[in-house]
Symmetry: C2
């Protein structure tokens, strides 16, 4: 297929964004899937997977090159590292760019010839069932992946529907064909992670099973149902556990030898098909609830054997989702843009069976009535730009998302909204309760279709659960004391922002008591502001700042979450003007921003903190606490410096190849930052209706809104010689403010940027031109 | 309560059956529960529990005195040993007399004062939460148990409904009251047995959770829901695991500290109630399916707080079930009789939730439509006498039992009927496929209400599954070769009997093909008969008997299951006449029986085979292969020797105290043997309609049949001086045959035995007077 060849050929362009290239109009007819390169971020620390999925789908069917033990697993968070020489198999679940990880469920490997039952060593060909492969044989396309497994001569193709992974294996003739199913491996593997698994071959040839793992979400059960388009000639089910405590004590039992079923902690199945004359098709449905539901999912979403049709449908689903923005630019730019948009449309993931069943954070089975239940919520990341992007582009999805997190709160034994959840279960990873920001952002931007009272109840319930992250002391003292709770500094800041988000929705709903309570809490960031050092700092229970203090220090147990004082002191998105004042006014504020960006920093200082990457001075684009910082010059009268910093970031932190992401994509947050920034504006303060204006990086982008309107951003001249905004017009009228309103976009129209070689140091100077999210407190 | 005092006072009569005692008429009004002493078999190797349950109920709420590790656990198969000094707590599931074991789920302990979180050492008072107790404070009664926990001064009372265990705890005043729930301990405990557990306190105060264990049935899940009649003042949930692999890697997570929920492998909950002025009531429902179902079971079967009412209902349920037989005899005899009947009505157990959900051997959730699903099937034991007894006394139960095992077969990944199953799951313990005997026995005795075609399909499917116990070779060679499969000798014998059982039902259904196939297989016992040594022996694949051969040898890997050649060579229940002929005719046969009973055997020879107990010569009443042997004299013209041997067994192997069972009760088989034998007849060949006549041990027993008829057995004089049958009349007419027909009983009437001091060596001599189960082959 030519479009795949085109995708593949793009790969040779890897490396430099600034290659001069003629601007090319968007592909006609919305065929943007052809412009996506799923390889971006599959190397380095991007933690992205190259395999087949549909937007927000339950299945991410993708090759795994390694599933190392826990301590060495960071680089393999998505199961695949572009530099690896072998493929272990194809598993059905993957996170898209997560920092921590799990999943890699239902690993399937086609084998021609002799079967080895363990994966073996990638450095010793033939030592196990894994196979070498050549990148030249890979095809990566939205909804489709193919590779030739060279040790077996097997061509493997993968596609996906919502709940079903489809495999097409073309075996060489003359060698017996097998499919191996290994229920042992898991992303972030470690001894004892698999608590239990079972596998059975049913009378009709359907292979089903479940696996319970003690991974990131402890006690997670994942079931599956698998069918083949040709009958097995035989099959063998193995229990590979070596320390079977019980076996020796069984007495005169006589368990069948040739089994239709196996259960235990190390189950492997091998399904034999003899010498195949035609490709073997395999389809696998999963369910977080039960084998019966997995079978029902297969029956519902996986009828027939039309692999090509499903590939085309997946492609069409991506084209439809990506059609929300038509962008002009060089092929490389467009590849980066649409790949970023593709990666913004990965999560959350459908976590509900075809019959509406899903598993909640109480590990119980619940039933979704009138909505689709989604999970895979990396809240600390995605509330910043990825969810705001979806609110803009796909507000119908947002309705389901909000209903899903309210449902999760209702099922939570803690009565809390999700923090970091997947497949309905909670991991408690990271900090804050940013689900409230997503709900509030949706509400203040006019999204309805969920029960606002229930939502507000869920938000307040979450924000007042004293035993979570020492909210008890936060509510009592106005800050999180570091002698009681790690990262008390940044936690105070994050809670204050989340509280402000709650207040905004309460205000919009006319709930004044709640508004007043949480507007007050929104100012608590001031309690960790140290005017003497000029940084946010953690305080002790006695009200004193913790000593000693080193603004460069970052690490577990420190004042901040995955960051140091230089990085976290900018986090007051709800009151940037207040922060400017606290820091001594515009000049002091922008000087300090310059100082941060221009600092000489040895990256080795962060060698023990995996997430702090993509350094520009202290600025770390590889991690989320930095993401809004470049836009802060806008708030102090120097928008031209925002423009300058954004170009610096876009040039250095994003690229078109496998190493094209400087840090974890974090379920689309890194990519969504790219999309907003390329469009020229960014939601510094979700739950406000304002976007800070940066500068566009494409000559033209048309956002097709669900209300039928189109909002077009144009910029000229668009080249490296004209990096600064000279003037901005909205629908032909000069726009002096350095922010855009959500209503401006919804109304449709054209935002035009006149770009110029030198900074315009007069545009956006006036205080009234600045974003005003927290105006009641600052003006 | 006086009736409990009466039960308690019976205990002093322990030891001797032959104490002269006046015959006393049965208790009026069917209050036989008052005559049961649940302590019988709770010491020694009886493996019975003293706690509260209803007939065939899902709950067996009983004190546990120890749950030692796997290798030391045999004696604690029911969680309780009469000689132990302390009680760990009260758990909700127990097998009744099993040889191997599991269960002990949802262990609850009331604590007054300080709480210790581990059970501690029974030899070091105060070292843990366990408490000392005095037998004088115990009350054991069908459906009710009470004890005073002396370390805490807590009076604990237990009762049960079908799916709910009820606790009433009276705490001393002045000390804070707590209830501890420990999800770690388990009968037959070992490290790693608890795969996962979870515990949550719901908003309404309901405590729920599930535990998955890797016990006898691997991967078994048991859920529960618990409520208290008074509000908790506080509660603490602990994870006591010390090797939490994941904890250290969690990063900046902030899981709530004071939790409503916990999960892991070592979960303990403590629920606090302050200084209570009135008894605390606790009710616990269980479910093999889900927490939601456990809650629904609690809602359905556990409304309100009427502890006394439930105790009375449980008592009434027992009285109703025990009313099937009114027996005269001394108080000790009646206690033994009704306790044996009580223990015959324990299993199988309801394994279905109130909504009809149950878990099948495929570990999946199924739904019972129009029947109650029962599990706890010790098939190798209970097909012999316990299930035949229920077919006689409670045929309505049998319909559910047969439907349950057909449903289990339909859900089996192996398409096999249960072998040793509980809570729907299969353990594969012991040998044969004796479920077929239960079904056939029911069918030939006229029980309908199940789908006979489905049943026959299930039976044939089971008996032809080649990979089970080397059925493949059995079908090919006519025997199970010992070089392929352990215990090939006895397995051949058992399969042949089971095959005969299938043939009988096929014949009754007019399925001649199946009849012919399985009648032929029924003769395969001849393939392991060695005329040279005069014993059954295992053969090798080449057709030769295995050498060397020692008829005394018994042990794992040997020719027989839990037995030696002296014990197993008598097992041809389908063709005793054929065996008589093979052994050289009547005289040689009865001489060999005498030789077996009269042998001088050092019990130490069986010290490594736990089950071979209760020796009379080589005869081992403690284990099932011997159970029919005493009746075999009937088949060779010497019924007076059957009478003599039965008295020997009744006098020596059963007693009224905690040590009153010489071996495991095996889910009621030992007790059912006692009942039949006391009544004067025994089902040597289930799936025939004949009962071999022994001699009665009670002066009068009236069997109240479900068809409204009463069949009365009378005997006189009934004393130790008249141990032999002189004459027998059925409804006044002389009965010359030494067997009773099932139809004789169903018709009602009176079977009268005239007992005498000396043997009657003429009665039952004629070959036509003998049981004829296998007559087509032998006459």
């Amino acid at each position: 297929m030519n479009r795949f060849v085109l995708c593949s050929s793009l790969f040779v362009l890897t490396g430099l964004l600034s290659v001069p290239a003629a601007s090319v109009a968007a592909a006609p007819g919305g065929q943007h899937a052809d412009e996506v390169d799923p390889r971006i971020g599959t190397g380095g620390d991007g933690h992205l997977f190259p395999g087949a999925t549909v937007p927000f789908g339950m299945i991410q069917l993708s090759p795994d090159t390694a599933m190392p033990d826990f301590k060495h697993a960071y680089k393999w968070a998505a199961g695949y590292q572009y530099g690896d020489p072998t493929i272990m198999g194809f598993s059905h679940t993957h996170f898209s760019g997560s920092g921590h990880s799990d999943l890699g469920d239902v690993l399937v490997m086609p084998i021609a010839g002799d079967v080895k039952l363990d994966p073996g060593d990638e450095k010793v060909p033939g030592s196990g069932y894994r196979s070498r492969f050549d990148h030249a044989t890979e095809v990566e396309h939205p909804g489709y992946y193919a590779v030739t497994l060279s040790d077996y001569g097997v061509r493997a193709e993968l596609t996906a529907t919502q709940r079903v992974g489809w495999h097409r294996y073309t075996f060489p003739t003359g060698k017996p064909a097998h499919v191996l199913l290994d229920l042992r491996p898991s992303i972030y593997d470690y001894a004892g992670k698999v608590l239990w698994s079972n596998l059975q071959v049913r009378a009709d040839g359907t292979v089903t099973g479940c696996r319970t793992t003690r991974g990131w979400a402890p006690g997670r059960e994942l079931c599956f149902a698998m069918r083949f388009n040709q009958p097995m000639t035989s099959r063998e089910l193995y229990n590979r556990e070596t320390d079977l405590l019980y076996k020796g004590f069984k007495g005169p039992g006589n368990q069948p030898v040739d089994q239709n079923a196996q259960n235990g902690r190390a189950i492997v199945g091998v399904f034999d098909f003899g010498d195949l004359k035609q490709p073997l098709l395999v389809k696998v449905a999963i369910s977080p609830v039960s084998e019966a539901n997995a079978i029902a999912n297969l029956d519902k979403d996986g009828q027939g054997w039309a692999f090509d049709q499903h590939r085309d449908e997946a492609n069409a689903a991506w084209n439809k989702a990506l059609a929300a923005i038509d962008v002009d630019g060089s092929p490389t730019q467009r590849t980066q843009f649409y790949t970023a948009l593709y990666h913004s449309l990965m999560a959350p993931n459908l976590a509900m069976d075809a019959n509406g069943d899903y598993r909640g954070p109480d590990h119980q089975v619940h039933h979704a009535d009138g909505f689709n239940f989604y999970s895979s919520w990396s809240m600390w990341d995605v509330y910043r730009a990825q969810q705001p992007l979806l609110i803009l582009l796909h507000p119908d999805r947002t309705v389901d998302f909000v209903r899903s997190i309210i449902a999760a709160q209702e099922a939570s034994p803690f009565h809390m909204l999700p923090v970091w959840a997947y497949e309905g279960l909670e991991t408690w990873c990271m900090t804050g309760y940013h689900a409230v920001a997503i709900i509030s952002d949706a509400y203040v931007k006019g999204i309805r279709g969920f029960d606002a009272d229930k939502a507000m109840h869920a938000m307040v319930s979450t924000a007042t659960y004293g035993d979570y992250g020492d909210l008890a002391d936060y509510m009592k003292l106005g800050y999180v004391p570091i002698d009681k709770e790690v990262e008390g500094g940044s936690k105070t800041q994050e809670y204050a922002y989340d509280d402000w988000a709650i207040a905004q929705m309460a205000k919009a709903m006319g709930k004044n008591d709640i508004y007043n309570t949480f507007e007050k809490r929104a100012t608590y960031w001031r309690n960790v502001w140290d005017p003497k050092t000029g940084f946010m700092r953690a305080k002790l229970s006695d009200g004193q700042f913790r000593e000693p203090f080193d603004p460069a220090s970052a690490g577990y147990g420190d004042d901040y979450t995955e960051a140091n004082a230089w990085q976290y002191s900018w986090y007051v998105p709800q009151d940037v003007a207040g922060l400017v004042t606290a820091m001594g006014g515009d000049k002091a504020f922008t000087d300090k921003l310059d100082q941060m960006f221009d600092a000489k920093v040895d990256p080795a200082i962060f060698k023990d903190v995996e997430d702090i990457t993509g350094l520009i001075g202290w600025y770390a684009h590889g991690n989320e606490p930095s993401h809004h910082i470049a836009y802060l010059y806008d708030y102090a009268g120097e928008p031209w410096k925002t423009q300058q910093r954004l170009k610096q970031i876009m040039d250095n932190e994003y690229g078109p190849g496998p190493a094209g992401l400087i840090g974890n994509d974090d379920l689309g947050q890194m990519s969504a930052w790219y999309i907003f920034t390329a469009l020229g504006f960014y939601p510094v303060t979700p739950a406000s209706t304002e976007y800070a204006i940066g500068r566009p990086f494409v000559p033209r982008a048309a956002i097709h809104l669900s209300n039928g309107h189109t909002f077009t951003v144009t910029a000229s001249p668009m080249d490296n010689d004209h990096p600064y905004v000279g003037a901005v017009t909205l629908n032909g009228k000069p726009l002096d403010r350095v922010y855009l309103k959500h209503a401006d976009i919804l109304a449709g129209g054209e935002l035009h940027f006149t770009m110029q070689a030198e900074p315009n140091k007069t545009w956006g100077q006036d205080i009234s031109a600045r974003p005003t999210a927290m105006s009641p407190y600052t003006h």
